[in-house]
């Protein structure tokens, strides 16, 4: 069964229009037209008539959960969420950045999404690889079944097999490419800090110039700030103008976290964020 993007788009428009007409929400975070069909953009519908501008196709990769924290607390909003995006919403609910009752989640079951920059199909290599939203109020299509179930951590095997020196050399080479545009953190739904540690200068945590020391400081810290929080949407890596495979590091940390604490990020609103939830029977592996 192929995904009918057109059908999802139509349902998205109808739902958005209805929600805005009844005043149930004051805005709908979805997708709109970009400069061509392959480049749709995040879009905010505020009036019922705006709903006509909503689009949905395989290039609508952006994680709309990223935008929720931009609006004042208590804003009633509807959010179009694909699988990973819904996990971001859950994680943000756990972190008390948004409230479940303020949200209407328009779930989008999908696979075969494409990276607008490279045209590559997005799968479990660069994302969590789920097909259905974990949390939603309305599902705008049929649940996906029968697609291959691949662990999002499979891609790590070849890097885990490297010895320490080779792995360090790999990351040094990758991170040396970084131009410090911060598109990665800005595209990330979980990087909502203001100011981000790397922008602080009293104390100054890391250098601003794009050289090894500062790049390592920025990235290693960011990877760890995302521990147990990254929901593997892959947005950071897609946002990166120089194609640094940031997702690999995030996946590794997520995998370790899951192994140690038996909880993946953003899977249930009942969970507490794993790193702030102390349990007596917690793994001590982290201290080893």
């Amino acid at each position: 069964m192929a995904i009918s993007f057109k059908q999802i788009e139509d349902k998205l428009k109808t739902e958005a229009k209805g929600l805005l007409e009844t005043g149930k929400v004051s805005l709908v975070l979805a997708y709109g037209k970009g400069y061509d069909e392959k480049h749709p953009m995040p879009y905010v519908a505020r009036r019922p008539s705006d709903a006509d501008n909503i689009v949905f196709n395989e290039f609508c990769t952006h994680n709309m959960a990223r935008y929720m924290v931009r609006y004042p607390a208590g804003t009633k909003m509807a959010v179009a969420v694909k699988a990973a995006d819904s996990r971001a919403v859950i994680q943000l609910i756990q972190e008390e950045k948004v409230k479940r009752e303020d949200l209407v989640l328009l779930g989008i079951p999908a696979y075969g999404m494409k990276n607008p920059k490279t045209g590559e199909t997005i799968d479990s290599k660069t994302t969590c690889g789920l097909y259905n939203p974990v949390l939603y109020d309305v599902l705008l299509g049929e649940e996906v079944h029968g697609q291959p179930v691949v662990s999002p951590y499979d891609v790590l095997a070849q890097y885990e097999a490297m010895d320490k020196e080779a792995r360090f050399a790999f990351w040094k080479k990758e991170l040396d490419k970084c131009i410090r545009c911060y598109a990665c953190r800005k595209a990330c739904p979980m990087c909502y800090c203001d100011p981000c540690f790397i922008d602080q200068n009293k104390p100054k945590w890391g250098e601003k110039s794009p050289e090894s020391a500062g790049n390592l400081m920025y990235h290693l810290t960011r990877f760890h700030h995302l521990a147990g929080r990254c929901i593997d949407c892959g947005e950071c890596s897609r946002a990166c103008p120089v194609n640094i495979p940031l997702y690999l590091f995030h996946k590794k940390v997520a995998k370790d976290c899951e192994d140690m604490f038996g909880q993946a990020a953003g899977m249930s609103v009942e969970d507490k964020p794993v790193l702030v939830n102390f349990r007596v029977d917690d793994s001590d592996k982290i201290l080893e």
């Binding site: 879009y43 490419k177 598109a183 800005k186 110039s209 794009p210 120089v242």
Partner: protein
């Protein structure tokens, strides 16, 4: 003077240039092409459309060291970093990017306040412009032609290159280019047929379509002035914007920088590093006050600086339509669409 060389002999040409100075040319990397200082002539790869980062970094590197010092020691012991500039060749620059140098010259030397780092590198560098391939349509992101820049404009280059089948035609445009080309023993003389091909390409480049709307600099600048207080308009234009630095860092005409002191143990360096008006802390004042706290204010600054303030002050738009900002924007914001929306508004 017009000379030619086989494209597959570009390595020999590169090697000849490397004997005379530093060669900066397109190199293929994981994510795409970038201008890099060449250490092995074989790295030079002309099989590119355009680079990720603009060639401005040849004159205005992302990091530039000014002074080195030891913390805890007297300032008198600090040593300025010598500007050790050698003759350089910037090879394979697309016409829109060549145009950007002229715009950047306004800021780094043209107003009377001279930035020696930019200016000395400019003076020491011979620019080899390179026409876009007119057999392929322009990419969707580009719009240089609508800003009056042809796909094969030789102006601004010292030597301009046009690809003809498997050959590279090279024409001297300035006396500096003439001198260099005469002294290069690699390319052979071109025929009358080649001369015609070169001129035809330059002419065809002027009509090579990028996007359809035409931009009148003065009228657009005025329009943006009128729209300044239209918060609705700017919020609409910016609701997708992440306020990152991707668009400004890849842009050939963005020239903002920050001066930082960076120390490793007791060794310190005062340096400048690219900065961007899209960053939250760009306008953060020492008092803690920030006049641009909202994303729309920052995007408005970026667009209006290029299309309005710059026109009012210097008479030209500070954008060359290379399309990099659009291509690398993580959320597909297209500066030209904003200009079109403004004109319509």
């Amino acid at each position: 003077m017009l000379k030619k060389t086989a494209i597959n002999k570009a390595t020999e040409l590169a090697a000849a240039l490397m004997e005379k100075g530093t060669l900066i040319a397109p190199v293929k990397e994981d994510a795409g092409f970038n201008f890099r200082e060449i250490s092995d002539a074989k790295q030079v790869d002309l099989n590119f459309h355009n680079t990720i980062i603009s060639p401005k970094s040849a004159f205005f590197p992302q990091t530039e060291d000014f002074v080195r010092y030891q913390t805890g020691k007297s300032i008198l012991e600090a040593t300025p970093v010598e500007l050790n500039i050698k003759p350089a060749f910037l090879f394979g620059v697309r016409p829109c990017d060549v145009k950007s140098f002229e715009i950047m010259d306004i800021h780094f030397s043209g107003t009377g306040l001279v930035d020696p780092y930019w200016q000395k590198r400019r003076e020491a560098t011979t620019v080899f412009g390179y026409a876009f391939d007119l057999d392929k349509p322009a990419e969707a992101e580009e719009f240089y032609q609508t800003l009056g820049i042809g796909a094969a404009d030789p102006e601004g280059s010292d030597i301009f290159m046009v690809k003809k089948d498997n050959d590279l035609l090279m024409k001297a445009i300035t006396p500096r280019g003439e001198k260099l080309l005469t002294g290069l023993n690699i390319p052979s003389e071109a025929s009358a047929d080649d001369e015609k091909y070169f001129d035809d390409t330059v002419a065809a480049g002027r009509n090579f379509k990028t996007r359809s709307t035409c931009v009148d600099a003065r009228a657009t600048a005025k329009k943006f002035e009128d729209l300044f207080h239209n918060t609705d308009f700017w919020e609409k234009m910016s609701h997708a914007c992440l306020s990152c630095g991707a668009c400004t860092f890849v842009c050939p005409t963005c020239y903002c920088f920050d001066i930082c002191d960076e120390t490793l143990f007791s060794r310190g360096t005062r340096r400048r590093v690219w900065d961007a008006c899209m960053f939250t802390d760009f306008t953060l004042e020492a008092s803690g006050h920030n006049p641009r706290t909202k994303v729309y204010q920052r995007l408005r600054q970026k667009v209006c600086h290029k299309y309005s303030y710059h026109v009012r002050k210097y008479g030209v738009i500070s954008c060359v339509g290379c399309g990099r900002c659009t291509r690398y924007c993580p959320v597909n914001i297209d500066i030209f669409s904003i200009v079109e929306e403004a004109v319509k508004a």
